[in-house]
Amino acid sequence: MPDHVIARLRDRASLSYRPDVSNGLTNVRARIARHKRARLSVSLVLVVGLVAALVTVAIVVPGQNAANAARYLRISPTTRIVELSGPSNGLSDVYFADSTHGLGLDQQCRLSSVADTACALAIARTNDGGRTWKRVGATLHVTYPDSRASYPFIDFVTDGRDGWIYGSMTFVTHDGGRTFEPDGPGGLVMDLSIMGNETWALSRPCTPGTVGCSSTLFSAPTAGGAWMVEHGAPKLEYPYLQLLRTSPKDAFLAAQSTDGTLYSTVDGGLSWASHPLPPLCDQLQHLTALNVHSVWALCSAATPNDSQSKELYHSVDDGSTWALVSTTSPTLVPDVGTLPISGIVTLLNAVAPDRLLIGFDQGPPIASTDGGRTWAPQGLPTSGRVGQLTFTDAQHGWAILLANDALYRTSDGGAHWSMAASG
C-alpha cells in the first residue's frame, strides 16, 4: 500500500477519531485493579478448594478404612467377614440349623464408590445341605446411605422362623423370611446374636471414626418385642467391637484397640467382669470360643508386605489368665507352636474343643486339631478368600469362597470339602 495513502489514512483517522488519552489511562488503572481483585478471588477460591479437598480426604479416607477394618472383627460362633472391596453378590451369608436345613441371604448390590449402595435382599432356603436353594418370600429393596455402609448379615433361630437381616439397616422376620419389617435398636448393628429366647444386638449409633461415640448393647425377645438397653454392659468407644456369645448367659465383649481388656458376663448381661488381655497382645484381632471355659484370642501386629505377626492365646478361666499357644516367632518362646507370618488373618473359628480354623486374605485356610499348637492347610481351594465359615457341629460346616461365590461343604470337620452350590 503506498505510503501516501497510509499517511492520509493516519491523517484522516486522527481528524475523525480522537481517543481520550487521560481518561484512557484512568480507565486502564481501574481495570488493572479489577484484574488484581479477580486474580486474588480466584486464588482464594483455589486455596479454599484445595484445603477443603485435603480435609475431605483426611476425614473420608480413614473413615473408609475404618469401615472396612470393622468387618475383620466380627466374631461369633459363626465367623463372618466381607470382602473389602464390597459384598459379593449372590449367596453372601448362610445360617444352618443342622446338617441339611439352612437359610441364606441372597443379595444383589449395585456398588459405587461415591453414591448410595442399592441392594436387593432375599432369603433362600435349602433342605439338602446347601446343594439347592429356593427363594422364600419377596425381595427386600434397601438403599444404604453411602458406599461405606455395613453390608447385611443374617441370623436365625434353629427353627428358621425368627431371624434378622442386620447391619446399617435391620429387619426382622417371624415367618422364616417370607416377610420382613424394619426392626433393631437403631444405629449400625455390628453384631447380632440369637441365643434361646433372647437376642442381643451390639449397636453403634454413629459411623466408625466418630470420636466419643460409644457402643450400646441391646436385647429383645427373639419371638418379637421391644429392644431394651443392657445398662450393665460396658460402653466402648473404640469402633471395632466383637460380641461373642457362647450360651444365653455367657458372653464376651472386647474392642480391637490396645486397651487390653476383655469383658465377660456369666449372668446374661446383668453384670460384666473385666479381664486383662495377654500383656504381649499388640492388637486383639479375633476371639472364638465354644464355651466360656475355653476361649482363644488371636493377637497381631501389622508387618510389611502383606504379612502379620500373630500370637494365639488360650484361656480356660473366662479370660482371667492366658497361655500362649502358638506364634509367628516361636524361637523366642519355648514350647509353643508356629503360625505362618505371611497372610492377614480374616477369620478364626473354633469348631471343636481342640479343632480351630484360621482363614487369610489370600491362600488356603489352615486348621489345627490340637488346640492351636500345630497347623496345616485344609482342603479348600487355595484361590481366593473364605468369606464365611460356619459349623453346626464338629463335623458339618460350610464355607463361602469369595473368588467364585461358591458354597463349599464339609462333613469331616474341614479335612475335606466339596462344592455344595455355586453362585
Binding site: 500500500m1 503506498p2 495513502v5 497510509i6 492520509r8 489514512l9 493516519r10 491523517d11 484522516r12 483517522a13 486522527s14 475523525s16 477519531y17 480522537r18 481517543p19 481520550d20 488519552v21 484512557g24 489511562l25 480507565n27 486502564v28 488503572r29 481501574a30 481495570r31 488493572i32 485493579a33 479489577r34 484484574h35 488484581k36
Partner: protein
C-alpha cells in the same frame, strides 16, 4: 486505591494508545468499542509488563490482544444491535471528493476482514504472523486476504500503481 502503572508503562501507554485505538476504529469501526478494547489490552499488558517491556515491540502484543478484544466486542454488540459500522464517520459531501483517493473511502468498500487485515498490515505495521494471531487464523489466510484486498484496492484506487506485490510476503 488503584495501583499506579510505573513510569515506563505510562510512557508506553501515551505513545501507543491513540494509534491502537485508531487502528481498531479504522479496521473494525465503532461497534468494536476501540477504546474499551485498547484499555483492556493495556490493563493486561500492565499485569505482565515485566516481561513485555523487554520485547522489541511490546505494542505488537497489545495490538494482538486489543484486536481480539475488539472483535469480541463487535460480536457482542452486533448480536443485539444491527447498526452499521463506521456510524460516526462524518458523511459530509464536501469531504467525499477529497477523501475519494485517500484510502479511507476505499477501505469502507472492502470486506470487513480484508479491511482489518489491510489496516493491521499497513497502518499498524504488524507482521503477517501477528495478524494471524490477532485474527485467529492461519498465516496463509492472512496473505490471501491481504492479496485480495490489494486487488480490490487497485480497482478502487486506479491512479495508484505503486502497491507492492511483495507487501504481503
Amino acid at each position: 486505591m488503584a495501583p499506579t502503572p510505573d513510569h515506563s508503562f505510562e510512557q508506553f501507554f501515551e505513545a501507543q494508545y491513540q494509534g491502537i485505538c485508531r487502528a481498531l476504529w479504522l479496521g473494525l469501526g465503532d461497534t468494536c468499542e476501540p477504546e474499551d478494547a485498547a484499555q483492556e489490552a493495556f490493563a493486561r499488558a500492565f499485569l505482565r509488563w515485566g516481561a513485555l517491556s523487554r520485547l522489541e515491540r511490546p505494542a505488537t502484543w497489545v495490538f494482538v490482544v486489543a484486536v481480539r478484544q475488539a472483535m469480541r466486542n463487535q460480536r457482542r454488540r452486533t448480536r443485539s444491535i444491527t447498526a452499521p459500522v463506521w456510524a460516526t464517520e462524518p458523511q459530509q459531501p464536501t469531504e467525499d471528493v477529497a477523501l475519494r483517493l485517500t484510502g479511507v473511502t476505499a477501505l469502507r468498500q472492502l470486506a470487513p476482514r480484508q479491511r482489518l487485515a489491510i489496516v493491521l498490515r499497513y497502518y499498524a505495521d504488524l507482521s503477517v504472523r501477528d495478524i494471524a494471531k490477532a485474527m485467529s487464523c492461519r498465516e496463509g489466510t492472512v496473505k490471501a486476504t491481504i492479496h485480495s484486498a490489494q486487488d480490490r484496492l487497485r480497482t478502487l484506487l486506479p491512479d495508484d500503481r505503486t502497491i507492492s506485490e511483495s507487501d504481503n510476503a
